[in-house]
Structures are given as structure tokens and as C-alpha cells.
Symmetry: D2
Subunit: 138 residues, 4 copies
């Protein structure tokens, strides 16, 4: 089971640092949004609707790694292609960020599906079958 | 002389705080991007191209005020309408951010056109006539 | 009733933009933190402890205005002095951000004390008498 | 040659997301600042002074990986311990972020020393001997 989504993101002035290139933590904001966009496309729900529909608390990151090959600059419209691969209580997403066909950043993240317990703590939980089904259909 | 631009912006998960609503400094990032988008539309140049073409260093803010009437949440696609009004070395921009027709935030900012002097300091400078002309034409 | 707090904040590389000066939305992050720091000092509680102790949902901004007089740069250790003035369901905070005694930014914000209603919406609520008392004592 | 620095960082309200825990890209802002702080301590120069003194353009990231073991929340004062290990044109930094002695995040980053060429592009360059010497002395 593998599903992907592609979107275009503008790098803005305020994303860049005094060297004139993107400040790299902004890439992780872009990847986090790209993960949400992937789910939104598969499920037909925004993240706020997802949280209510499936009664969970998000999918926090447990591991990420990224390789930065080419810098990007304000005014660049970059393409982010994101692919998901589900485990039982977790999933992996690969993001490839490119500019005019040239790969600038590659990122691999692992996230867990969590629910809030009665004591307020977050705990991992199997990804609901209904969620998996929607990804399969597409 | 008055010119406006409208764009749609998605409020993302990472823009929001533990109360579940947007963390208000994110609005100012949106407004800064909206100001750049207005110039990009009028001049047909991205900001990085503008800086080279007109040999200036940006248009830093000297004053801003904002009224927050309704909160917005992740998943909201808000509309930002931005109107510009030029002075000699400065300009004013009014931003109206709305959701489904309801105004959520109103912001009025004043910015100055600056160039970098030989000593490295930024100094205000008249907005180039060519820039003003492009706004007039539209 | 007026109470103030002063703290020192480092302007970091990632706070600055390609012009080499601070990207102004970062100032509002600094001011938001300064408001929390003022409450923390008066109440002896961090914000997360405050939310539990007084059973409210935060103090969202309803209005802010700021004047930017001098830019700041990465490596600058700026001083933020914050003064509060309470109303019934709201309060005003004035922030003055300075570098080596020179005022760089002045900001005036108005916030409301809100609680979450059974339907999940946020609603304004009188600032608890106990909170006011702690500010008076100091 | 190995040198370390430790600092304490407050997790703020605006660093956290609707799940009430830190939005993970904020960790990378903290690690970037921690890298600067390490250099500042070794060289006795802020980053802006370093850029002038050694005539370079920064040390952009080429690779990072992070493991997130425990979430942190607003009000947490976390400790970041950063250790550096120099190569020829690059260096590696390990960051360990902990709360009350418990490791929350481990991050390993690789960065390159870059200078701006006459054509405006950034290019890797050997870390100056004087910089290495200052780290050795400490």
C-alpha cells in the first residue's frame, strides 16, 4: 500500500535567513503541512475534521531524517511529492522537495497515530481500518 | 492611486496554538507575504527579482495595527484582500482577512522603501517612478 | 494597578530575513512570550499551570499596534519591558523593546481573558479576583 | 577534538500545537540556535561578528536526523547539550535535548562551512585553522 500526493509551495521572504536562503526548520513546517495535505486528499477531510471523525489526537513524529542538496530562495515555487507507507500503529512518509525538476531536499519521517487517554496522556493506537481503506481505494 | 490583490491562504496545524486557534504572530507572516504578493502581481516580478531590478533592500515596516475579531483554525482557507496607497518614500497597506465572508482580522501597515548605503546601513528612498507607474496602469 | 516585568531576549539567526534584520512577525512572538513571562512572575505559575489553576483557556489578543523605530539583528540581546493595566474582562500590555538603551519597538496590546464553554467555543470572562490580587501585592 | 556546550531553553506557548505539545520544527530552530551558541562560546564572538571576522557566509545544514522520544510542553525548561566534531570542510554536531534528566530528543546534524563566491553562489571551504584552534584550546 503506497499512496502519494504532490503540491506546490512558495518559499517566502520570511522563510529565508540572512544568507538569503531558506532557514532549514521551515522545510519541516512544509513537510508537516504536506503530510496533512496527503491525508486530506485521501480522506476528503481537513485535519480538524479528521481529529473529530476518527477521535484521535494527531500523528506526532518519532523519527525524521533529511538531506539538503540544493538551497532554495524566496520566490521559488517548489514541488513537494509525499509518499506514505502504513505500518500497524505508525506510518512512514517520504517527501521529495524539488525546484524545476532538481531535487533540493529529501526527507523520511516516521509518525505514530495517537489517542488521548483518560489521564490526558497521548498513547499510540492502531491506525483505524477505515483510514487504511480510504488510502487503499485511491 | 489604489490597487488591491486578493489571495487565499490555508491556516495550518503548526500555525495554531494549544487553544486550537491560530497563534497571532502567524497573521503577520501572512500579511507580509500578502504585501509581497501584491507587488508581484503589479510588477510581474517575484520579490527576489524586484530587489535586483530596482536595486533596493526591501520595504521594512514602520508601523502596524491589527484588530482580531474572530479566531481562525487549522484547515480554514481564509481570504486576504490587500490594498495599497503610495506616499513618497513610503506606502500604506490595508489587509482584510476573512473566512466565508466574515472579517476575522483587519490590519493597517505602513512601510518604507529602503536602499542600502555604502556604509551598509539601510536608508529610506523615494519609491521609483517606474514602480508607481506599474501600479497606476493596473 | 500597574505592574511590570523586564527580560532579555537574544535575536537569533533564524529570526532574521535576507535583509539581515529581524523579520518583524518574530517581534510579536517575543511580545507574546513577554506577556506570559509577566504573568508567570506575578502568579508564580507557568502558563500551563495557570490554565489549570484558574480553569481558563488563555488571553487571546483583540488589538495590537506596534511602531518599529530601529531594526535589530542576530546576536543582539534586546531588553523587553512589559507593563500591564487591568480592565474587567480584559487587560492592556505595553511592551518596549530596546537595545543598549535605545528604543527599537513600542507595542501596545489588548487581550481578553477567555474560558471554554460547554459547546467548545471560547468566551470572555472576568479576570479572577485572585489573579488581580496577586498583581496588586507585587 | 570534541567540544560541547549546554544551555537551557524555555518552550513557549507559541511553540506548541493544538495537541498541546511542541510543534516539532521548533526543535530544529532550537538546535540551530544551539549550534550558534556553541560557536559563540568557543570563539567569543556572536554569529554576526563571526561572519565578519572569518569572512564566510554561515554553515548550512547538509544532513540532519532526529529521534523524538518524549514530547515537551509550554513552560518546560529543557536542557540542550551540543557536541561538535570537526572534519575538513564540514563538522558534525550532536544535540541532546532533555527535561529533568530524561532525554526527549536526540539530533545529529552535519554542516558545511561556506563562503560566497564572486558570482554570488555559496561554496564549501575548509574551516579556518584559527577557528579549529579556538575549539582545541577549550
Amino acid at each position: 500500500m503506497l499512496f502519494s500526493n504532490t503540491r506546490v509551495v512558495r518559499i517566502d521572504w520570511g522563510d529565508c535567513d540572512p544568507a538569503g536562503i531558506i532557514f532549514y526548520p521551515r522545510y519541516f513546517e512544509i513537510f508537516d503541512d504536506s503530510t496533512s495535505a496527503l491525508f486530506e486528499r485521501a480522506l476528503g477531510l481537513t485535519k480538524i475534521e479528521m481529529l473529530k471523525t476518527y477521535n484521535f489526537s494527531g500523528f506526532p513524529l518519532v523519527h525524521t531524517q533529511a538531506r539538503f542538496m540544493q538551497p532554495t530562495r524566496f520566490g521559488d515555487d517548489v514541488t513537494v511529492e509525499s509518499k506514505i507507507n502504513f505500518g500497524h500503529r505508525s506510518f512512514e512518509i517520504d517527501h521529495r522537495l524539488s525546484l524545476k525538476g532538481v531535487t533540493c531536499v529529501e526527507c523520511a519521517e516516521k509518525r505514530v497515530w495517537v489517542v488521548r487517554q483518560p489521564n490526558g496522556r497521548l498513547k499510540s493506537h492502531p491506525v483505524p481500518e477505515e483510514v487504511l481503506r480510504k488510502f487503499r481505494v485511491i
